[in-house]
């Protein structure tokens, strides 16, 4: 792990580790933010020098105060601004003149309050740029560094947390105080604790990278309400996870409206922004958590114990029922119950009562005291077939809870394998739990949470060491041809590419497009169909018809020239009946794809994450079950495979219940080519290949229909809404 300060850390050095701090705008009124911030720094034993800056006061809490920061005779590393927003720019200007390099702006009343606040925020950004200052906030709770050499609590939290190896970064200040309270109760310590508010200058990404290089931080937790620069976030998270080997856990709230409002295609409507966030975090190797509790359940496992090298767990319990519950939870999390070696079984036989269950889960019986736990846990961790231990305790009258807790801690500390515990109950087990927490044995009220944390820790261990293969770059593609088609649609003011052009774009990237041609009359339909070869599919080519099937404008298995002429006339008549105003360019005559399963492939350009590729099975699976998977392009081959397997209905393609095994390798290649197309052609806003027919193994697949959206989403939405109204 690199210990030298990286670019992120050096910018943050004056904020995290200042020698001197000025609190600018403080007052003498306890219970107010300006006073409490100053007093917290003072009472929590900051190791540097602190200066109150107050226009009216000569001293604050017995410390000499200065009217202006410029009056302070010594250098100031960090300024914490607590003035009202209207004068923050004046304070910033003086900080700049004073040579301050780091600022924390606690004050609210900026971007979060509307246009006037946006203007104020731009002004302070400009001042910071002019003087080369970095700042956290505005609109934040502050910054805490528990490093004993610094010990800075520049926040208005009620308490300073104890030192620990977890770094916590939060967009919400109020959540920070709740988290500190929660963590205090569970004896969880922090290395750095930052509320970054509006992130007008220093962003969540800067902070994450700073903690990557922070030797005191082993695990990074983040609470986010928005991800405005998703691609950069993913890159940074990858660095933290794969270069520094530190886990990143994210609790993300606040689903945006962007995904829904831009829903002009299947992929557009399916790729709601939260699903994209989910995919991106997965691709980065981030552990996404749904609740604060889940986040800390995982964090303590990752911070306190060695990572499990495998999924084989030993369950040691003094109660049958909880042992079974834990077994169920372990299996649910795809953990395995370890099979003990003969040697371990012999030790169990010799040391445990005859009534004890010496298979996994090991039941040391309800009257077990510390000696049985000591033997059972020690032997299990000694066993090479065991990757970690889960200790369960229920409090019977003879259970020496505290002694057992001490024994568990002492045995666990001797092994480079993880031990987690669940002392079930509340009152009687409280002192035992406190011992476990103090000595960093992750404790869980529920066995389910314990097993989930074990599984996540194992997953992280695999993820951090995984080296992904770069995304495939095909050299046989014609990028210029694809771009020309896209540009000419844009130049013509079209939202969607004409269907034939959309197919040509895909053909330029060697996606398996079926042979097709446009017929403009019934006679031409007969000759075009004959040239393509029967049977053919025929469908209307019209910019105004989005759902061709719904208006009867698709006819399949047309088998002769006469049928082709008739089909042309039928399609024409049906469209005219349903949509008299629709402009008809002609009828697309296309080679039939032959039998196979229908899948859908898509692209959506997300404002935060760039090109997102989608895969799912066609028909009901997409429409009803939303059984689809996403990845951010370019996609490494490992993630192509994983996104395909993520789709629940995927076994339909791989021979489930006697079905034919379809050509999944060809689907994977299509996804790779589509990913490259999405990266190479930013003109594509949304793209659907629906359906792609997947034939039997070795026979490839075929694109039968495609839609490409190139214009701005607002206009596209209008077009789509119009088409839907008229369909």
């Amino acid at each position: 792990m690199a210990e030298s300060p990286g670019p992120g850390r050096s910018r943050l050095e004056p904020i995290f580790s200042p020698q001197s701090v000025a609190v600018v705008g403080t007052t003498r009124v306890p219970g107010t933010v300006p006073y409490d911030i100053f007093y917290n720094i003072l009472k929590d034993n900051f190791q540097g020098t602190i200066y109150p800056v107050s226009p009216r006061e000569r001293s604050i809490a017995g410390v000499k105060a200065y009217k202006y920061i410029l009056d302070i005779p010594d250098p100031v590393d960090l300024a914490v601004i607590v003035f009202p927003s209207s004068v923050v720019k004046l304070a910033m200007e003086q900080c700049g003149q004073k040579g301050v390099k780091g600022v924390v702006i606690i004050s609210a009343g900026f971007r979060e309050v509307g246009p006037a606040g946006v203007e104020r925020e731009e002004e302070i950004k400009e001042i910071a740029r002019t003087y080369g200052m970095s700042f956290i906030g505005p609109n934040c709770l502050g910054v805490i560094n528990t490093d004993p050499a610094v010990h800075l609590n520049a926040s208005f939290a009620r308490r300073m947390p104890s030192a620990g190896s977890i770094g916590f970064l939060s967009q919400s200040g109020a959540l920070c105080t709740a988290v500190l309270d929660y963590a205090h109760a569970k004896n969880i310590g922090f290395s750095k604790f930052v509320s970054f508010g509006n992130k007008a200058d220093i962003s969540d990404i800067d902070l994450m990278l700073a903690l990557k290089d922070d030797p005191a931080t082993k695990v990074i937790l983040m609470y986010l309400e928005e991800m405005t620069n998703g691609e950069a976030f993913v890159d940074a998270a990858r660095q933290v996870i794969h270069e520094a080997g530190k886990p990143v856990l994210v609790l993300k709230s606040g689903r945006t409206q962007q995904g829904a409002s831009a829903a002009a295609s299947h992929t557009g409507s399916l790729a709601a922004s939260d699903e994209i966030v989910d995919a991106a975090l997965k691709q980065a190797g981030v552990i996404r958590c749904q609740t604060i509790e889940e986040m800390f359940n995982n964090a303590i496992a990752l911070a306190y114990q060695p990572l499990p090298k495998g999924r084989r767990v030993a369950i040691i319990t003094n109660a049958g029922g909880p042992g079974v519950l834990t077994t169920d939870a372990a299996i649910h999390e795809r953990l395995e119950l370890a099979t003990f070696s003969d040697r371990t079984r012999d030790v169990f036989k010799r040391s445990l009562p005859v009534t004890a269950n010496i298979k996994n889960p090991v039941d040391v019986i309800g009257d077990a005291r510390a000696d049985r736990y000591r033997v059972a846990l020690g032997s299990a961790l000694e066993d090479e077939n065991v990757d970690g231990a889960l200790v369960i305790l229920t409090p019977q009258s003879m259970t020496d809870i505290d002694t057992i807790a001490e024994a568990v801690c002492s045995v666990a500390s001797k092994y480079d394998k993880p031990t987690y515990a669940s002392f079930m109950g509340e009152t009687d087990v409280a002192s035992g739990i406190a011992i476990l927490q103090r000595r960093h044995i992750p404790h869980y009220i529920l066995p389910e949470s314990m097993c989930r944390a074990f599984a996540r820790a194992h997953d992280f261990g695999s993820e951090k060491d995984r080296r992904l293969t770069p995304a495939v770059r095909f050299s046989d593609v014609d990028t210029a041809a694809a771009r020309t088609l896209l540009e000419s649609a844009i130049a013509a003011g079209r939202a969607y590419l004409p269907p034939a052009d959309a197919m040509q774009v895909l053909a330029a990237y060697r996606l398996p497009v079926l042979r097709s041609a446009i017929a403009r009359s019934a006679e031409e339909a007969a000759s075009v169909a004959a040239a393509i070869g029967f049977p053919v599919a025929m469908k209307v080519d019209s910019d105004d018809i989005v759902h061709k099937f719904d208006v009867g404008a698709v006819m399949l298995n047309v088998s002769s020239p006469a049928e082709a002429s008739a089909a042309f006339s039928t399609i024409h008549a049906r469209v005219k009946a349903h949509r008299p105003d629709a402009r008809i360019n002609g009828v697309l005559v296309q080679c039939m794809a032959g039998p196979g399963e229908e899948v859908i492939l898509g692209v959506k350009r997300d404002p935060a994450f760039g090109a997102v590729v989608m895969f799912g099975l066609g028909g009901l699976f997409v429409e009803i079950f939303r059984d689809v998977a996403f990845r951010i392009a370019p996609i490494p081959p490992e993630h192509i495979r994983e996104m395909m397997h993520e789709v629940k209905a995927f076994p339909i393609l791989t021979g489930a219940r006697g079905r034919a095994h379809r050509d999944t390798a060809a689907v994977a290649e299509c996804l790779q080519r589509l990913s490259q197309l999405a990266v190479d052609c930013p003109q594509i806003l949304e793209l659907d290949i629906n359906p792609l027919i997947v034939r039997d193994q070795g026979d490839g697949c075929a694109v039968t229909d495609a839609r490409i959206l190139v214009a701005d989403t607002e206009r596209a939405s209008e077009d789509s809404a119009g088409a839907a109204r008229n369909a």
Binding site: S54, P55, P84, V87
Partner: protein
């Protein structure tokens, strides 16, 4: 009313409300940044000006006034 008279009386109100020496009250002084007025004092200042000049000011606009000079200009609109 002469501008200098408004200036003198504004200075006195400010010094009295904020309990500071009138000599500290300069035309460019910012009520919050230089003179340390908190939100309560800002309300008291507005009330003090209204009483001193026997006027009724538009409160939202009055709150936007940041400096002594600004207050003189603002009050001048009411006492013409």
């Amino acid at each position: 009313m002469e501008r200098s008279e408004i200036q003198r009386r504004v200075t006195n109100v400010v010094a009295s409300v904020l309990a500071i020496d009138p000599a500290e009250v300069l035309p460019a002084s910012n009520f919050v940044f230089d003179l340390g007025a908190d939100s309560m004092k800002s309300v008291e200042l507005i009330a003090g000006f209204e009483e001193e000049f026997n006027i009724e000011m538009e409160e939202e606009k009055a709150r936007e006034v940041q400096t002594v000079e600004g207050a003189v200009d603002f009050i001048a609109q009411y006492v013409k």
